[in-house]
Structure formats: structure tokens, C-alpha cells
Symmetry: C2
Subunit: 293 residues, 2 copies
């Protein structure tokens, strides 16, 4: 399959859906809707929604069933970036080559735009048409859990606590399993649930998701050290300067690469119970460690 074309096409339909779910900038109070749109419709790759759609199809569902939840997870991701960039967190002025939200709208609106993206996510999941209520409720619970202190936010706190300290591989794993892993894993899992997958299928998607979450973070850490800052739209080497807990900093680049490759092969192995409908998931797993942006 032509993965680049697939990602581009899927990215386009996801972007259309994101547009539909976001409040219009013309609705009062416009400034916060503008800020939400600024961060949620920018040049992201839409990895999480694309994973949700692909997992939904892997179990034989129609991708439309997973679109609202996929958008919801992208809203959660967008909120996390806005809040991470705030002065009291990483204090970043640029993200993906654009000014960060608080540089454009001020800190108060950036804070509230992030907050509003969280609640919008759960509103969008609950309003999904043509999917049984029990499935949607389970999806809402899992997305909430993956967002909170046992997921992304907890990982963010662990990461902050580790900054500047000596850490081991197990610490880095604990941080990233939550910080980036939880949201990627839940994307695959909710796709499977919304497509009507069996327990075995959803469990396999969970293992797949955990492993690509790991591979994704390893690749991100390596790109921060060796990547092209122009292509990435952000400065490289910032993890090193901020003494962040990364895979290369605890086990070196070569062992990090092996770890990423092992995770990708474990992810693909987990998909062995699926037929060719899971080919996009397989291709995405390979792409994650081969990408240069």
C-alpha cells in the first residue's frame, strides 16, 4: 500500500471532521474559539485519529464510527500541547514553526482554550451518532483515563519530577508509557471498540498501541538529537539542554534504535490475528521509526 497517500487522504478527512466539531470563530466569545481552532487545526500529522480510524476498520467496522472519538483524542492532544507550552511549564514560543497559543492570545485565553478542548472532547464522544451507548460510554471512560493522572497528565508530572535528575531506563519507560503512550494506545483501543471488535481483538490492539507508543517516543527522542530542525519546525537538542529524561540519554542512540525496532516488530506481531484490513496499522507501525519529521 501507498502509506504516504493513505496518511495524506486520511489526514484530510480528519481535518474536515475537526473543523466540523470545533465551535465557529464567529460564535461568542469568538476569541477562545479562534484560539481552539488555532491549535487544533494546525499542521499536525493526526496520528491519533488516523490510528483510531484504522483500528476500527481492522475489526471490520466503518471508519465513520471512530471519527468523533478520533477527533476527541486529537482535541486532548491539542490541549496538552497548549498547556505544555505555557510559561509555567516549558515556556515555548514556537510549536510546529508557528507561535504558541499564549504568544498569540495571551496566557489566560491559552489556558482556557486548553480547558475547553478537554470538555469539547467528551461532548463530541457523547454525541457520536449510530453507535451503541454502551460502547460510547466505555470509550469516554477510557479516553478520560488515558488523559488523567494514570495516563498523559501523570506522565507529564513524572517527566517534570525527573528533570535534571539521574534516571534509569525503567524511569524513562514509566514516564513515556503514560505521557505519549497512553493516548496512542487508547486511539487504537477505542477504534477497535467502536468498530465492534471482540475482546481478543481489542486486547491485540492494546498491545499494538502500547508498542507503537514506545516506538513513537524513541523515534521522537532520536529526532530531537539528530533531526533536521527545519523539517521538524522546532529547534533540536532541546531535550538535552533541558536535561529531559529520554531514551538516548539513558541507553544511547544505538540501543534506543534497537528498542524502537523491537517495539515495532512486537506491534506487528500483535496484529497477527487480523486479516489484510489491518495492513494500514502494520504500515503505520513501520513508518513510525522510519519517519524524519
Amino acid at each position: 500500500m501507498d502509506l504516504q497517500k493513505y496518511l495524506k487522504d486520511r489526514g484530510a478527512i480528519v481535518n474536515e471532521a475537526l473543523e466540523c466539531h470545533l465551535p465557529l470563530a464567529g460564535d461568542l466569545p469568538g476569541v477562545i474559539h479562534e484560539a481552539m481552532r488555532y491549535s487544533a487545526t494546525d499542521g499536525g500529522k493526526r496520528v491519533r485519529p488516523i490510528l483510531a480510524l484504522a483500528a476500527c476498520e481492522a475489526v471490520g467496522g466503518s471508519y465513520q464510527s471512530a471519527m468523533p472519538a478520533g477527533c476527541a483524542i486529537e482535541f486532548i492532544h491539542a490541549f496538552s500541547l497548549i498547556h505544555d507550552d505555557l510559561p509555567c511549564m516549558d515556556d515555548d514560543d514556537f510549536r510546529r514553526g508557528k507561535l504558541t497559543s499564549h504568544k498569540v492570545y495571551g496566557e489566560a485565553i491559552a489556558l482556557l482554550a486548553g480547558d475547553a478542548l478537554i470538555s469539547l472532547a467528551f461532548e463530541v464522544i457523547a454525541a457520536t451518532p449510530d453507535v451503541p451507548a454502551l460502547r460510547l460510554l466505555e470509550v469516554s471512560r477510557l479516553v478520560a483515563r488515558a488523559t488523567g493522572t494514570r495516563g498523559m497528565i501523570g506522565g507529564q508530572v513524572l517527566d517534570m519530577l525527573a528533570e535534571g535528575r539521574d534516571v534509569e531506563l525503567s524511569d524513562v519507560e514509566a514516564i513515556h508509557r503514560r505521557k505519549t503512550g497512553a493516548l496512542l494506545e487508547v486511539s487504537a483501543v477505542v477504534g477497535g471498540i467502536l468498530g465492534g471488535g471482540s475482546k481478543d481483538q481489542v486486547d491485540a490492539l492494546s498491545i499494538y498501541g502500547k508498542n507503537i507508543g514506545l516506538a513513537f517516543q524513541v523515534a521522537d527522542d532520536i529526532l530531537d538529537l539528530t533531526g533536521d530542525s527545519e523539517k521538524l519546525g522546532k529547534s533540536t537538542g532541546s531535550d538535552l539542554r533541558q536535561k529531559k529524561a529520554t531514551y538516548p540519554s539513558v541507553i544511547g542512540i544505538e540501543r534506543s534504535k534497537s528498542l524502537g525496532e523491537k517495539a515495532v516488530s512486537d506491534a506487528i506481531e500483535a496484529l497477527s490475528i487480523f486479516d489484510e484490513n489491518a495492513d494500514p496499522l502494520r504500515a503505520i507501525a513501520r513508518f513510525i521509526i522510519e519517519r524524519d519529521v
Copy 2:
């Protein structure tokens, strides 16, 4: 009925339920769980959960059905207070006579504790036992909507935009219908839904909730001008100093009092379709303008 005893008893069972739903401070990462507990288990009056329980009983339901949603709304309320107090917002050092979250835990943890309380709210709603999934999904959607830009967060933005400007009664109403009204209204509404109320009953609870939201804000504005700062646990006159849009500042204290009394009688009028099971709701409506804290 003895409302003071009722509020005290209900406050106690709500506090127990809040405790149960919050992650333990011993769970890693402990610092954010401590921060969440610090703000969500403090000396608040638990008006919102108590309303949800009372509305559930007014339609003939068992209050237990509304407890998780009531706690969820209290978590949303707690998040809004943490974020409102941050330096980039109101920059307050004290709340209810205690240091604010960011003064105790630092800005980054306070920010993330607020974020985590939002996602916890939706996790708790989705995990409610023994209630039909369709009802829970509707409750999740309504709470999300009341939290976001068409509800509380939107009202907060309108309030910020109005600060220091000349405003009219219609502006103050638009701000507070969202900022405090939306969450109080949704408390009564979701109580009715979770108790299995009919459409007419839920509509009546919505009118009741809107009106006590209005009365609550009017009373709050008046207390800020005339109240006892020691009883309130915060300094009075702060709205005036910050040139906030309040009812007394646009229509004076006497007309504000009349407006509050009218809202309370409209709220009680909306309950005419209910029997004596709605007596606590009636008593709460009266209490809102009579309270001095």
C-alpha cells in the same frame, strides 16, 4: 424541614463520595493527587452535588444514581477555582481562607491538577454503576457542554472581556448565565435525568436550575459588597476593586435584591409539578438568597 441539618448530612455523604472517587495521595505521582485532593475536598458547601441528589429524588429516583455525576460536577467546579486563581488569571493567594493551589504546589502542578480534575469528572460519570448507558451518555454530554465555551468557560471569557468596561444588565446576565449558571443548572438537570424523570420534569428542573443560578450569583455579588470577610473566608469588595461586571454595579443593591427574590420565586414556581419530594429543592432555593456565607 430542617435545611441546615439536611445540608450538613448531605454535605457529609458527598464528601465521602468525593474521597472515594479521587486517586489516593499514595498513588504515583503523589504530588498531583495531593493537589487534586487539596482543592476538591476543602471546605466547599457542595451546592452542586447536593442539587443533583435532590433533583434525582424529586423525580422519584434514588440519590445514589446521581452521586457520581454530582461528584463529577464538583470536580469541574474545583478545577475552575484552581485555574481562576492562577497568576495569569485572578492571581489570588487565598481561597476559602486557605492558600490557593499554586501557592502550595507551584503553578505547573496546579495547572495539571485542574486539567486532571476535568478528565476525572468524565471518567467518574462513565463508570456510574446501575444506570442505563443512554442516560449516562446524555449526562456526560450535558456536563461537557455546561463546562465548555457555551457554559462556564465561555462565561469566564466574557467576564474577562468585560473587566474595566462599561457594561449593561444584559451583559452581566450573559456572563453569569454561563459562568455560574450553567453548572448549577446542569446539576439539577442531570439529577432529574439520572432519576429517570420525564421530559417535562427535566425541563422544569432546567428552569429551576437557571433561576437559582441567577439568584446564587446575585447573592454572591451582594455578599462581596456587604458580607463579613471573616465568615466568607475571603476579602470583600474585590469585585469593585477589579472593576468586575456585577449585578449591584449595574443596577444597584436594592434592584439586585429584587431580581434575586424574583428568581427564587420563579425557581419555586417551576417546581409546582412536583410533590413533597421536591421540598429540599424548594428550601435550597430560599436559602440561596438568605445565606450570609
